[in-house]
Amino acid sequence: MTPTISLKPLAGALALAFLALLAGGALLGLLSEALRGNTEGFAAFDSYLWRVARFTLLQAVLSMLLSIAFAIPLARALHANPDFPGRPMILRLFALPLALPALVAVLGITSIYGRNGLLAALLAQSGSEIIPNIYGLTGILIAHVFFNLPLATRFILASLDSIPEDYWKLSAQLGMRALAQFRLIEWPVIRRNLAGIAGLIFMLCITSFTIVLTLGGGPRATTLEVAIYQALHFDFDIARAVSLTLLQLTLTVAVLLLLSIAGRPTEEGFSLRTTARRFDRPYARARSLDTILILVGVLFVGLPMAGTVVSGLSADLWRLLGETQVWRAILTSLGLGAGAGLLATLISLVLVTAREDTANRRRYGTPGIFERALDLGASLIMIVPPIVIGAGWFILSRHFVDPFRLAPVMVVSVNAAMAIPFAYRILRPAWDTAASRHNRLCAELGIRGWNRLRLIDWPVLRQPLWIAFAFAMALSLGDLGTIALFGNDAVQTLPYLLLQRMGSYRTQDAAGLALILGCLCLLLMILADRGANRLKIREVRSDG
């Protein structure tokens, strides 16, 4: 047999080079600026900077603690009541915030807790003088808990679901009360995953941009990411932007190091598995407490979403859809989103196949540098946050071109990079399983190259590729970070236009646009979810 030269490692190297260029260029831009400015860049490490850094950490810690403190009893209640009315719907509801663009959620939250929101109306009706003010730490915390409580609940519920049914049989036979059950059965399982879940939420809150930008109340309640944006966008204070970015980078790397010690939570949190049966008869008091907990949780997550829909429908949708500016924004968003989705899927596929190919060649040796680099490349964006990449390229490119002209390229590349960790995790198991099943058979039958792709790999990969694409596109559609830096009158995406209308106090328009954006993202997520379910059914069948 003639040894065939595989294109896979080469393609993998190209994909890595692209990612390295994206992150490296940004870091280079920052570094050269920091050195060029001599002392100026570092002089910007003043009290303002430390205050921002402190607030960034504070809000992330509080958001994490609040989310988890409520998620544990909530997940317990959901687990203890497998036949709670509408339970599957509740779990679906808890999956929605994941698909919701932050900007849409912010509008929904404002419609409930804002000055003119539902809560204010209820307070006014009861004769209270209190007018709720959600701008500042309160609003940031509400929004972060809105996103992370359902996430944490699903993760913890997945942990509880992993408890073998025999344990519940035993605890029923031994006559354990609720407290003993929690201490001896539930808590040990939850604890195992808790560090990972807490770390993930902390990381998401530390790099949260949109929520802090829209709900933060000026310089007192701002985070590093937003401060970077403001330094570049309003003050054009490059020195400050550089020092902020370096601080943000240090922070994320430090947190990631801690996270790698804590370990990742198991990713079953995204499935809708039914809970194992419980065999004990819960006491009436425990049951009603669980009911209250679940209702509060459902209201907290559901109300802002309902608020988005209600205020969106009360906007003049027909007039909005008649505006060319709106249509251009929708089309721009769809175009850039599709581009980012394609790029993310392509790069992830290349990384996955190159990794498998390399691992296959070495057989039983330890993974080489290239193989590990392929894995690391997939999660690059975790180390170098999008806003850092955006800021770096913005600073670097202004020496050569007008940075705003780079908007489409930057949005597509950075959004693609953001989606790669997810797409990689969707594609890798599918590809690796298929490869381990087919490699020897294909070698024996001499199926290679185009034939193998067409006959063997494509049928297996079609579904996961589509899921990865839909997910990446939805993520890109809702992203505000990069477009906020590079957006301008010529290139406007839907979130950018939404932010503009909010800024000029056209609240009705903003609500209508939020509904449109939310529906688009949701549609893509539902399609991806459908695909994922079909995939699971197929896997079960081929296993049986």
């Binding site: 344990y167 049989k169 036979q173 006559g175 009360r177 001896l184 065999f279 004990d280 008869r281």
Partner: protein
């Protein structure tokens, strides 16, 4: 300590199922069965014939659709698992992985693990009886499969329930280990006089224990009698066929 351990536990309970119906999806099951106090009963039958369901009905993990279940003459048809005088050992997951041997056994005394000195003494004694003395502080991961099942049996001992149910408890052990476990159960049964009901895939387990054999087929009790007789060449044809005899003509 020995006296403390065996106090009041020297008895077995009668179990009776009166026209118990149970629907397992498509399959309807019907059980009419009396198990004599302090007997050893072995349940065999093809997979899906309802062996585990029968045990789950007795333990209270499955609800009977109709009919009544008595243990020690008391109607337990609607009693919660903890209220029934039975202990059960499963094929796996009998132990909580994060608790050591002593704690896992201790749960049988106090489900919240608030143990006093008398409890601790009883636990040590039970661990010694199942041959695990010196391994009290081990976690389940540091035990072999056979040792784990011994811990589960020790827990059943400290619970002192008059009925012990074994649901293929030794199915994953090799022949020699399985026989050793059966001998252990037999010894403990002689000592405590508890009623033992076990589900197994190995008909020779029934012979070894000199037990009563119950043969299940298609959700009903197809035969019941002394194992020696039923497993001989004069046994019922359906059972002969299950055993793979060439002369079964079925």
């Amino acid at each position: 300590m020995v006296e403390h351990f065996s106090e009041g536990s020297r008895h077995g309970a009668e179990i009776s199922l009166e026209s118990v119906d149970f629907d397992y999806g498509e399959m309807a099951m019907h059980f009419d069965l009396v198990i004599e106090p302090s007997s050893i009963v072995t349940i065999i039958g093809p997979s899906g014939s309802g062996k585990s369901t029968l045990l789950n009905l007795i333990a209270g993990f499955e609800p009977a659709k109709s009919g009544r279940i008595f243990i020690e003459g008391k109607d337990v048809t609607h009693a919660a698992p903890a209220e029934r005088p039975v202990s059960m050992v499963f094929q796996e997951n009998n132990l909580f992985a994060h608790l050591d041997v002593a704690a896992n056994v201790g749960l049988g005394r106090r489900p919240d693990l608030r143990l006093d000195d008398a409890d601790r003494a009883a636990i040590m004694e039970a661990i010694r009886k199942v041959g695990l003395a010196g391994k009290e502080q081990r976690k389940p991961e540091a035990l072999s499969g056979g040792e784990r099942q011994r811990v589960a049996i020790a827990r059943a001992l400290v619970r002192k329930r008059p009925v012990l149910l074994l649901d293929e408890a030794f199915a994953s052990l090799g022949p020699a280990l399985r026989h050793a476990m059966l001998d252990l159960v037999e010894t403990l049964q002689r000592e405590t006089a508890m009623t033992v009901v076990m589900v197994t895939h190995h008909p020779d387990d029934a012979l070894r224990m000199g037990s009563t054999l119950v043969f299940l087929d298609n959700g009903t009790i197809a035969a019941k009698g002394p194992a020696q007789e039923l497993l001989s060449e004069q046994g019922p044809p359906l059972l002969r066929k299950y055993l793979g005899a060439k002369d079964s003509d079925l």
